[in-house]
Symmetry: C2
Subunit: 141 residues, 2 copies
């Protein structure tokens, strides 16, 4: 998800996160690594769809509801770059391109299910906390 110029430097930030992180912050940084990868608005949805088998561009466009052509392309490229998706083109007319999640991506998705569990367990509590906080703030005005 970069504007054309932004990615200019072909500098693979392979060991990113080591130098800047020390001690307990290593974990925070590691989590951020993942978040930077799948934190985008559409990444998860695409990974889920592509985890079920090869899927075409327009199929994704339909099944990931609300996504624009641009963001679909951008997100696909990033996921492919990170090795989470494999892109296969068939030189037919009209062209046919399929995307499929890698094993690594499926593992990631499984890991994310743990977060889903957390969210489901605490959804009510969070909603309640928000309501309480907002009510207090309203009174403090």
């Amino acid at each position: 998800m970069h504007e054309p110029d932004a990615e200019a430097g072909p500098k693979p930030d392979a060991d990113r996160g080591r130098a800047a992180c020390s001690g307990d912050h290593v974990r925070a940084c590691t989590v951020r690594e993942v978040l930077d990868r799948v934190g985008g608005k559409w990444s998860i949805g695409i990974i889920i769809e592509a985890s079920r088998g090869p899927i075409r561009f327009t199929e994704l466009e339909r099944s990931v509801e609300g996504i624009s052509r641009r963001m679909l392309t951008l997100t696909l490229r990033n996921l492919e770059r990170d090795g989470l998706l494999v892109r296969t083109t068939y030189p037919t007319v009209p062209p046919r391109v399929e995307y499929v999640a890698t094993e690594m991506a499926r593992e990631l998705y499984d890991s994310l299910l743990v977060l889903t569990g957390w969210a489901e367990r605490h959804r009510q509590a969070i909603a309640a906390a928000r309501e309480a906080y907002d009510r207090r703030s309203a009174g403090t005005d």
Copy 2:
């Protein structure tokens, strides 16, 4: 954020085992809920610090390296609003304010550790994928 279950599309082609499973859309949505909460640049770092016991504003400012006063305040407010942090003020002079992670936040952190594991296991593979992708792109220019 939740689109109401408009997932409903009756899928005529059951050819590829891509049967309509409305749960996927819900899962993607649930993951996004969490991401919206802790996807910010500083949330995780703050939660980690506050998980180890009550910590003061300026202590956080020092231990979460690189954070600005503004972002510290904003992130603290959001985390408090979601019930992930408890804020306690002591009416002393000078004022003393302490933040501490709730049990819910610690559970969240534990869940995030699963992601840390994933990131550590695949860090090399991702770096390699990026390098390969960037090299290919350079050639395709």
